[in-house]
Subunit: 139 residues, 4 copies
Amino acid sequence: MLTVSRKVRIEWGDCDPAGIVYFPRYFEYFDQCTVGMFEAIGFVKPALLKAYDFAGFSVVGVSSSFRIPSKFGDDVIILTTIPEWGRTSFKVQHRLMKGDELAVEGFETRVWVGHDPARPGAIKARPLPQELFERFRNA
Amino acid sequence: MLTVSRKVRIEWGDCDPAGIVYFPRYFEYFDQCTVGMFEAIGFVKPALLKAYDFAGFSVVGVSSSFRIPSKFGDDVIILTTIPEWGRTSFKVQHRLMKGDELAVEGFETRVWVGHDPARPGAIKARPLPQELFERFRNA
Amino acid sequence: MLTVSRKVRIEWGDCDPAGIVYFPRYFEYFDQCTVGMFEAIGFVKPALLKAYDFAGFSVVGVSSSFRIPSKFGDDVIILTTIPEWGRTSFKVQHRLMKGDELAVEGFETRVWVGHDPARPGAIKARPLPQELFERFRNA
Amino acid sequence: MLTVSRKVRIEWGDCDPAGIVYFPRYFEYFDQCTVGMFEAIGFVKPALLKAYDFAGFSVVGVSSSFRIPSKFGDDVIILTTIPEWGRTSFKVQHRLMKGDELAVEGFETRVWVGHDPARPGAIKARPLPQELFERFRNA
């Protein structure tokens, strides 16, 4: 199972008057990590958007638990992996670590979507490309 | 059960290159709705932070499902209610409606926290104040 | 000279660890006010984007001075007006008022842009539509 | 003159429905660059906030011109320098480069502020510490 690691610096503007990360910002970090994980196997999202009949990997659901707060200036590590693959969707797990401790855990359910040939301007779920699995397997 | 309704205009800066709300922004809307619900029963958060030995109602977990996207210029309604009360925590439900349709549903688990007398600078969960229930009951 | 007024509630997530508005957020407020001003004269941006050969009123420059900070829970008023019109551009002034005091002043220089017929996918500055002036004059 | 360079990846969530960076996000990038420049000379802001009678380097004014847009997935370089020093304030210049081209230029005027001994809870401008100049000179 490929796990990608990213160092994140907690920035001033990501923190709230309590001095800790304003929780919606974690989902921005996680979204960036998902993009980064695909990039790590050679799927650069801007290129994908052009090359494939691909409209993105839309987020249809998330959940997250916030265990230990982080504050301005902290350097944390986010570990990202894909614990579940479906036919058109997949689940992404993000673990934000402060040293050895799990500070925040988050999950995204994402759907692979393309343009709907039957309805101009609309999108629909599409089967995950075989090439994707092969790249993850060989990573 | 008190339900508070808030109209939200989807702003340009809340939308992404796909032209729809960037999903972390929904949690900002929801956070504002929770603050607004407490304000509706006379608990203004900035005043609370001063008056009580209160440090906030920290979010310890969230989950959300995104069913129908919204785009720049849409006016949506968010219905906020508290379906569960614990001793020190409570759950908040937010339903973002586009007309009659449920577009996004989100839940926050929040803990009532105060300053920890044993550890300066630290916070700890505290029992929800009785006055809070009374105000919700009489709302 | 048309001046449009908007009430803005300072939200928790817009404030930083110093407890005051994180300054980039002011530009989000101002951007919303510019959209609101056009809407006030019947130019709804999402409709404009479709109806005209219009790609937006791009911001090419801003300046701002921050005189008095605002904090979570403050209600402020933003007064928006257009002090200067050019052929393809215009200047927008925003004054964020706390009571009678000018707390923040900001300026945006915006260009009216449309799609460039000579280069697919590209945009270019275009003359401001005559209808726009008429609506402002009659507002 | 010390110039600090930072690579910035343009993220999906920083872009708007026109597919380009939503302009208030540039000020977040610039703010992070200023923090990074001080860190480069050994002034780590969180440590400063504790060690000195220091409350921050408040932004009292900004200006920016947006020449070339950037889009999701672009890697840009931001060059940060301090072209002007005052007694209690300084000016920061940020140049966001796309290859050899200046895409965005921004200026911040910042004031060195400490706690006001005469008024608890209030802050006031303070002379820039001599150590600061020495570190910049020797960088």
